[in-house]
């Protein structure tokens, strides 16, 4: 089949990696291509065509070695003053307008879940009709509840404040807890942190002697623990003194020396190191008893371990499902450490109201945005340090709710880098605004815009009369199919679905409503249907640098069967989901879903059997969430950087990730 190899040879591949400006030859085929609608759209959608001279400029002609993203972000980054961010903002807007010029996709994006109005979480929930009743109430109560909650949160701390120093100002109370940790971390170290803060710290130090401070800490901790104890039964812990220090503590401890030195080069050197410890939780091995215990002690979500664990997956968290939710949602008014927006997103993840990597990531980023907006630096602390610690706390909470996806990990890493590289002389409001806009830019550029570019690329691979197969539900694939339908391509869609989530039904609904010709089947029948399929479009959760596709479980099966039938497999994935990890199988890194979802079978006659067998320790139900598809099954990956073979993933990761995240 010649279309199969075709795409790989197309000049667009050259956009990846190193290319030089003296390469005008690909210009010649360009006009031919742009005769067709979508190709033209690509050119206009390509960020590089932003230049005033406008029409059909090949990406190759632009002075290369750096991709478009640095036009916007990275070039400005080394001189980070408030000015550039505004400039950046404007550029991004500019570009959004430009790209928006092909309306079909715009309208289409408006209806699909990752819409750009910050309401993704609520929207997606109600749109799909997937929201469970309890959490629906929860999210509904949120907009109003937010204020009440902050008020109530303060109440217990008021009493703490009495115990504490009288001089603590009202604005600081919120962060009393954080500062307490700070005290412990570096009695003397923190003094030198920032000239600006130095005075405050010193004055505070003078006011309170060491013993006093110790007393304050104890009182605070006791108050906190007892507050916690109301919800849970772990009141006994309040009596435990110092050794039960949460494991979060090392974070500020290690960071403190860096801040004291405050030399930017040194920081840059240690960035690598820090990066590794940034999100250690995703790699946490749950068969490591001591670490699990440690993590449990500080956890907000009360997890009960499931009794009937699958031995092969002891390294992954296996918890009972569904029982924490009511408890947590009642806790929402008494929480102190977690920002309410983050809390809400966490619960939505837990309940499964938000699914899909992009939706989850966007919801999380919006929550962080909100949290940063509400954030005030505690008096004697450094914004960079404290905010990072706060974000770490949020992240570990989110992990407790549901293990992070790779893309979320990348987004968090991006955010932390943004915080880290905030200029020292920035005032707090400025810094916050800059961070929020950076987050907004990330969402717009890396997710929403990337999707549009991917749609434009992928649509060129759909021809009349084709039979396209897709698996499960992927936003990008949905956009591609709908767009191709809108521009008048005649094709048929085969939707392959699998238990227990049956996400394909959602896609089926949407496509049939739009008038696409659909065939629906389940994954077992994939080798029956594959004979008539001409192309397979798959979504991705992440792509690792060895080309392994990490995606919803079953993707590997579909890709394998397609490969056996010599059908090209096209994976659509935003570049922000690429990850420099490597993975060989689906066992080592995975996520386990609710085993009951498998046990409950919609069988008419013997509904009870799994219930009665529930207690048998010989019977386990394994609900894997992801699997990894070897690179050899993938013909092509469509990303915002173009259409590439899986072997080019490490190149993208190396060349562009560094610019986006580290500079």
């Amino acid at each position: 089949m010649d279309p199969r190899r075709g795409p790989l040879a197309v000049p667009k591949v050259r956009r990846v990696g190193f290319f030089t400006s003296i390469e005008p030859s690909p210009e010649t085929p360009r006009p031919n291509r742009s005769l067709s609608g979508p190709a033209e759209a690509i050119t206009s959608s390509s960020p590089l065509s932003d230049s005033p001279s406008g029409q059909f400029i090949s990406p190759v002609q632009i002075p290369p070695s750096r991709h478009h993203s640095d036009n916007l972000a990275s070039r400005a980054a080394p001189v980070p003053v408030p000015g550039p961010s505004a400039f950046r903002r404007q550029l991004a807007n500019d570009r959004a307008l430009h790209v928006g010029s092909y309306n079909p996709v715009d309208s289409l994006l408006g209806t699909s879940p990752p819409s750009s109005n910050g309401e993704v979480s609520e929207d997606s929930g109600s749109l799909f009709g997937f929201q469970r009743s309890d959490s629906a109430k929860l999210s509904a109560s949120f907009p109003n509840g937010g204020f009440d909650m902050t008020m109530r949160v303060r109440a217990p701390q008021e009493s703490e404040a009495k115990v504490a120093i009288a001089s603590t100002s009202d604005g600081r109370k919120k962060n009393v807890e954080a500062s307490e940790r700070h005290y412990q971390a570096g009695e003397g170290e923190s003094v030198a942190a920032k000239p600006r803060k130095e005075k405050e710290t010193k004055s505070l130090k003078e006011k309170t002697s060491k013993a006093e401070r110790r007393a304050i800490q104890e009182a605070q901790r006791a108050a906190k623990a007892s507050a916690k104890g109301e919800g849970s039964k772990r009141a006994g812990e309040s009596s435990r003194p110092k050794p039960s220090k949460p494991a979060k503590q090392p974070q500020p401890k290690k960071e403190a020396p860096q801040v004291t030195s405050s030399v930017s080069e040194k920081r840059a050197v240690s960035v690598e190191k820090e990066r590794r410890m940034d999100v250690p939780q995703t790699q946490m091995q749950y068969d490591d008893k001591s670490r699990v215990d440690k993590a449990k002690r500080r956890s907000v979500v009360e997890q009960t371990e499931s009794k009937n664990k699958v031995e092969l997956f002891l390294h992954l968290p296996q918890y009972e499902r569904g029982n924490q939710l009511p408890n947590l949602s009642s806790n929402i008014f008494s929480l102190d450490t977690i920002h309410h927006a983050v809390y809400k997103v966490g619960l939505q993840h837990l309940a499964g109201d938000i699914s899909g990597d992009n939706a989850r990531c966007i919801a999380m980023l919006h929550a962080f945005q909100e949290a940063i907006n509400d954030y005030t630096t505690p008096p004697m602390k450094d914004l960079t340090m404290d905010l990072t610690a706060k974000i770490n706390g949020y992240v570990s909470f989110l992990i407790e709710c549901r293990p992070l996806s790779m893309s979320m990990g990348n987004a968090i890493r991006f955010l932390k880098n943004q915080i880290r590289k905030l200029p020292v002389d920035l005032s707090e409001p400025e810094a916050k605004a800059s961070l929020c806009s950076e987050i907004g830019r990330f969402i717009d550029e890396k997710i929403l815009l990337a999707d549009k570019v991917i749609v434009q690329h992928a649509v060129t691979k759909i021809r009349d009369g084709e039979v396209l197969l897709t698996y499960g539900f992927s936003c990008v694939v949905e956009m591609i199919l709908l767009y191709a339908h809108e521009i008048g391509r005649k094709f048929r869609v085969v939707i392959v679905d699998s238990r227990p989530n049956l996400e394909g039904q959602k896609l089926l609904r949407r496509l049939v409503t739009r008038g696409l010709d659909c065939t629906y089947t389940h994954i077992n029948a994939v080798s029956y249907i594959m004979g008539e399929v001409t192309r397979v479009f798959l979504g991705a959760s992440s792509i690792f640098s060895n080309g392994t596709l990490y995606s919803k479980v079953g993707t590997a099966c579909v890709a394998m069967v397609a490969n056996a039938f010599s059908v090209p497999v096209i994976v659509c994935c935003e570049a922000y989901k690429f990850h420099e990890r490597v993975l060989l199988d689906s066992i080592c890194s995975n996520e386990l879903g609710d085993p009951d979802a498998i046990a409950n079978v919609p069988l008419r006659n013997n509904k009870k059997h799994s219930k009665t067998m529930d207690n048998n320790k010989n019977l386990q139900f394994l609900n894997l969430m992801y699997d990894s598809t070897p690179a050899e099954y993938i013909s092509m990956i469509v990303t915002d950087y173009g259409m590439i073979p899986p072997t080019s993933i490490p190149v993208i990761v190396r060349e562009y990730r560094r610019e986006d995240l580290l500079l």
């Binding site: 699958v310 031995e311 092969l312 679905d497 699998s498 238990r499 227990p500 039904q505 089926l508 609904r509 049939v512 409503t513 739009r514 008038g515 696409l516 010709d517 659909c518 065939t519 629906y520 089947t521 389940h522 994954i523 077992n524 029948a525 994939v526 080798s527 029956y528 249907i529 004979g531 479980v553 079953g554 590997a556 099966c557 394998m560 069967v561 056996a564 199988d585 689906s586 066992i587 995975n590 498998i598 046990a599 079978v601 069988l603 013997n606 059997h609 799994s610 067998m613 048998n616 010989n618 019977l619 386990q620 139900f621 394994l622 609900n623 894997l624 992801y626 699997d627 990894s628």
Partner: protein, 410 residues
Amino acid sequence: MPDVQSTVLEFVNKLRKRKIEGSQSTAKCTVEILRSVISQQRVPHSNQASALIDAVKAVGEQLVAANPVELAVGNVVRRVLHIIREEDLSLATAAMAGLDLLDASDDDGEDDNCRGVGYSAMSAAVAAAAARSTLRPPSLQTLLEGTPESAAVPYTSSSGADSESKTADKSSITRKLKHDVIEGVNHLILEISGCHEQIAEQAIEHIHQNEVILTLGSSRTVLEFLCAAKEKKRSFRVFVAEGAPRYQGHLLAKELVARGLQTTVITDSAVFAMISRVNMVIIGAHAVMANGGVIGPVGVNMAALAAKKHAVPFVVLAGSHKLCPLYPHNPEVLLNELRSPSELLDFGEVSDCLDFGAGSGSPLLQVVNPTFDYVPPSLVSLFITDTGGHNPSYMYRLIADYYSADDLVM
């Protein structure tokens, strides 16, 4: 024989409505019905074999037409035909043994045919018949000589009545054929119901300590196989793919757990993810084709491909009644059956958006729910039948043991 006719009709209806499924049970029912057909069939004095064959064939055609996908029915019918032919032949050779008895033994159709030719021709015909029904595929010579002779079999039935000199031993021979055939059929019934044990006996050779075994679909053979290994104090772990949308995996898992095996139910989509930790895939076949291809529960091809990719042995358990003497062509489609879409999709869920397709005339939505899957022989590592383990490439030969070439096309 109104009673036989009615039971046949009843069974045909059951097959047609898919009330009875699974190769084991259909095979059993078929063979029992054929037995009653044979026992009730009034046999003419001469040429009774062909009369029996005709009767069995007539019933067999009905049964096969009722559910062409249930290959076991056809297999069993062919087996019974083969039994009749063999018994017939052995009687003939026994009659041949004493040449002086030859005049009397005109119950055999071939005798009528060769009456005037003489002894040498007679023995040639017997040799031909023997060659035809023995294990080898017919040689060129037997084909040449056998064709007119087998075509002559029906004709001779009328001329067979001419033999006036009926003796007492003749009627005993008549009864003997029927008796032998019914005995053979009884043997077949025993074989079908006993194939589990014979297959399960071999379990210990294939399953070792601490192995991880993947299976899918609900097969009694697999269940017995695994349990036999378990009884021999082997401890191992079984992954069962649930087999949506029929969820037969859940049934199998339930029974395995009841017998004390460590069982984990996984989704069908997780087959590829788990196969890297699996030591062996064991499935029960729906039918085994002559080329060594397997027709199994839907999803089996996926598991076989994944097993091939990870070099995991893919073992197929099949009782001899599942061996089908046909070579498949496009089996994914032709030897398959589409079940109700309601198993996959609740009509109420999509009915509201189906209105959009109404204008164009053709429905926008199709739901495909096949029952079976075909695994090409290249993906199968081993067949375990009640006669032992075999390569896929050997299956055609094994099949020749059970069927005579005349019956392949019914």
